[in-house]
């Protein structure tokens, strides 16, 4: 078994160097060697991953020791009133003086953060570096597992002859997917946004770690852990509750529960998952009450996120609108803006019910664009997923535009901030214009990937070269 497995494995490799016909390659029993091959994969990839981790930790340690650390910790694009490290220190100091840290408008973190940093405040840098490492490793393992599932599904679909002949060039091969997990880890760790967020000691890094662990536990089919991590992520900032839908869809797909409103098993699974989720949320909230002995944290954390009282400029869309809004319209627009985050869940879930992982990516992107206090750390998380969809590049239409706009906006943020605040020759409109442009570029990126994904799915079912009924070439438009 082992020998044939190895031979098959080797022959795949040899066959790729001297390509015979495509179909011939794919008839081999590659997936039966998955466990062995998987271990080989693991062994082969551990060294580059370790190297990447060492490089990332070195960069962060070097930046921590330099004078840039204080500079970065003050940038509004990197820290927000919810995630600032300065506020965590302030809250802990207030606690030491015997005052509730939630009195006043300083501290908006959850009590679990107080508990954690009460003991770790001297090792804060190591904590945030560790959080980044955990995120990267979790994403790495999750994407690897996901790739294996993609392969398996592809193999079944091929054996069932579900793909038309001309769309076979869209099939993914192990060679191209070999480096994808490493690329995901690299995209996360070496992204300047992530590095800035880590050096600024923004608690967004911890939120990203929890979300990555949620993703990992979802992919590894552990319902309890997935519910618990999602609950932790929701407990810290409310918006990840929208990730319940893709998680449930994923589990239902893996457990072969049909996504049909009339089926009892569908509702039963939803009840189970929601029970675990809401139960752990309840337990967490009660535990937080017992930590400080009061319910002060509820308005300070959740009331703050939902009612957006602090209008410090950031890279989001809320501050400028609400700075110039009249008081009697405020509640209405607050509801409109907040619903915007949650609104895309149901339509996207209906459209992408076969592809819950892509739905997770879309949801994460929607959350980090439309949340009330976004930072570049949130952007970095969903940007890390891009290598997973690198096979879509032939269908993406706006790569050049989006990348140029994102780079230009990232460069212009500090420039226009300086012009507005220090030089006094610009005003808030300049900064808001760049914020708007940045968000438009993000939306364009996300919608582009959505288009490319759907188009690839369409081609996989309907063939690559589309023909109209009379045989002439047809083009595909996303309406």
């Amino acid at each position: 078994e082992n020998i044939t497995c190895t031979k098959n494995y080797l022959s795949i490799y040899l066959d790729f160097w001297f390509p015979p016909t495509f179909l011939h390659v794919w008839r081999l029993d590659f997936p039966s060697c998955t466990s062995q091959g998987g271990q080989r994969f693991l062994v082969k990839m551990a060294a580059p991953l370790t190297l990447l981790l060492i490089v990332a930790v070195t960069i962060r340690a070097a930046l921590f020791r330099s004078s840039l650390a204080e500079l970065i910790a003050e940038r509004v694009e990197v820290v927000s009133p919810i995630t600032a490290w300065k506020r965590v220190v302030e809250g802990l100091a207030l606690l030491d003086l015997g005052v509730s840290p939630y009195s006043g408008d300083v501290f908006h973190e959850t009590p679990l953060i107080i508990y954690m940093f009460h003991f770790l405040v001297d090792y804060a840098e190591i904590t945030f570096m560790l959080a980044d490492v955990i995120t990267a490793v979790a994403l790495y393992m999750a994407v690897k597992e996901y790739n294996k599932q993609v392969f398996r599904k592809q193999k079944f679909a091929l054996e069932a002859d579900r793909y038309p002949m001309d769309s076979l060039e869209l099939i993914r091969s192990p060679k191209e997917m070999y480096y994808v997990p490493l690329k995901v880890a690299m995209f996360y760790l070496l992204n300047p946004f992530t590095i800035l967020s880590c050096v600024a000691k923004s608690t967004c890094g911890l939120n990203n770690a929890v979300l990555a662990l949620f993703f990992l536990s979802t992919i590894k089919r552990n319902v309890l852990l997935s519910a618990i991590f999602l609950c932790l992520a929701t407990y810290q900032s409310i918006y990840p509750i929208t990730l319940c839908a893709p998680a449930m869809l994923y589990f239902m797909q893996r457990q072969y529960i049909p996504v049909n409103f009339r089926r009892v098993s569908f509702w039963w699974f939803i009840v189970q998952y929601l029970f675990m989720y809401l139960g752990s949320l309840f337990v967490l909230i009660c535990l937080s009450f017992f930590l400080l002995g009061s319910w002060d944290y509820l308005p300070s954390v959740y009331g703050f996120i939902l009612s957006v009282p602090d209008l410090t400029p950031n890279i989001g869309l809320f501050w400028y609108f609400f700075a110039e809004m009249f008081e009697h319209f405020r509640l209405f627009f607050l509801c409109v803006f907040q619903i915007n985050v949650f609104f895309y869940t149901i339509p996207l879930s209906i459209k992408l019910k076969e592809h819950p992982v892509f739905l997770i990516f879309m949801q994460l992107a929607v959350i980090s664009i439309f949340k009330s206090y976004p930072t570049v750390g949130d952007v970095a998380l969903y940007l890390a997923f891009l290598p997973v969809w690198s096979h879509l590049h032939r269908f993406l239409r706006n790569i050049f535009l989006v990348s140029c706009v994102l780079l230009a906006c990232s460069a212009l943020f500090p420039v226009l901030w300086h012009l507005w605040i220090y030089a006094g020759s610009a005003n808030s409109n300049f900064y808001y214009a760049i914020t708007l442009l940045f968000n438009v570029a993000q939306i364009l990126l996300v919608s582009d990937y959505f288009y490319a994904f759907l188009r690839r799915e369409h081609h996989l079912t309907n063939g690559l070269y589309l023909k109209r009924k009379d045989g002439s070439e047809a083009t595909l438009i996303l309406k």
Partner: protein, 373 residues
């Protein structure tokens, strides 16, 4: 002791007049509340009054002068380092011996009220304080832009007539003045003295409520108006006063009638205990020192007691005096020890870690227990 014997009735009257006012020292608080080049005339007003008051004997140590002081060295001043008043067109009231106590942005409502009431931080120098006592006569002169019930300070804040009245009441209750003469040269200046309620205040204003105080002619070389009419005519009047003159307040009330001033000057004497006709101008504008002539030697105090130094318990007899500790620096600089080091409650820690362990074993199975225990 005074020798009466060789004096006649007129001299006696003169002597009683000498002691009739009851004050022993004079102070002046002269405030110009405007800044910027086009308010040149307000600075010139104040400096002219300053000059007169100094000429009549009040020393700089008893004058608190508050100016924005941006005229003499203003880059629009065609004759730098000078501030001209309209008197003779050539009188440089700035000179080289003017002592401005509050200049620039220090001329604020808060500082003015603190000067009046004496509530200044301990670090304030003497030149910035009004160190008056209950035998002081104080002249307060305000000029600038005003309105009905308020006076504008440096374009950013206002003082109201109620605040001013309350400040004077504080001064009265703290016995910071014997008599007070309040002169104000602004638009609708009479509104500023309407609310006074403390005794011994006499007030003059350049215009009534609803009237504007106008400026005198402009100087074409400098380009701005140099003085206001009321102050101009008041200074003409003051030029004739010398330290020994007997002119009284009734003459001051007649300064600048409507024909010259266009606005109607007003005054208020109902709070003043003496008859204005018996109040000399030099009681407020000058500093006439009272001199008591004696021929006898006066025994001032009892013989000074020597400290008895007992060699046995010398320390007990010495009373150590110390200042009251106003700023307990040692308490502030040294870190307060953490009285209550906050620690998470035990129940919380227990609950949290129990939960974590439960989840761990649920996920990975009970078989891992043997690795721990």
């Amino acid at each position: 002791m005074l020798c009466y014997t060789s004096l006649d009735i007129l001299d006696i009257q003169w002597i009683w007049q000498f002691f009739s006012s009851g004050h022993t020292n004079n102070w002046a608080v002269l405030v110009c509340t405007s800044r910027f080049w086009f308010n040149y005339r307000h600075v010139a007003n104040t400096l002219s009054v300053y000059r007169s008051v100094k000429r009549l004997g009040i020393p700089d140590s008893h004058i608190v002068l508050m100016l924005a002081d941006d005229m003499a060295c203003n880059h629009r001043n065609p004759k730098p380092a000078t501030v001209f008043s309209h008197k003779n067109m050539e009188l440089n009231v700035y000179g080289d011996d003017v002592e401005v106590d509050y200049r620039g942005y220090e001329v604020t409502v808060e500082n003015f009220l603190r000067v009046l009431t004496g509530r200044l931080p301990p670090s304030t120098p003497r030149s910035k304080r009004l160190l008056s006592d209950d035998r002081s006569n104080i002249l307060i002169y305000l000029t600038g832009h005003g309105g009905n019930g308020f006076l504008k300070f440096q374009d950013s804040e206002e003082i109201s007539n109620v605040e001013l009245a309350d400040a004077f009441e504080q001064m009265w209750q703290k016995r910071r003045y014997n008599e007070l003469l309040f002169i104000i040269d602004t638009c609708q200046g009479a509104s500023m003295y309407e609310r006074f309620y403390s005794p011994n205040i006499m007030a003059l204003a350049s215009s009534q409520v609803g009237e504007d105080s106008l400026s005198h002619q402009p100087d074409l070389a400098i380009g701005v108006h140099l003085m206001d009419r009321y102050t101009f005519y008041m200074l003409e009047f003051l030029e004739d006063i010398h330290p020994a003159s007997k002119t009284n307040m009734n003459d001051l009330f007649k300064v600048c009638p409507k024909s010259q001033c266009v606005s109607t000057p007003g005054h208020r004497t109902d709070l003043f205990l003496r008859d204005p006709g018996s109040v000399l101008i030099t009681d407020f504008f000058g500093s006439v020192r009272k001199v008591e002539l004696t021929m006898d030697a006066i025994n001032l105090t009892d013989p000074i007691k020597q400290m008895e130094e007992d060699p046995v318990n010398g320390e007990e007899q010495k009373e150590v005096y110390s200042y009251a500790d106003q700023l307990p620096v040692s308490e502030i600089i040294h870190q307060k020890p953490k009285q209550k080091d906050w620690h998470p409650p035990d129940g919380f820690i227990l609950g949290l870690w129990t939960l974590i362990l439960l989840v761990f074993f649920k996920t990975y199975g009970i078989k891992h227990l043997k690795h721990i225990f």
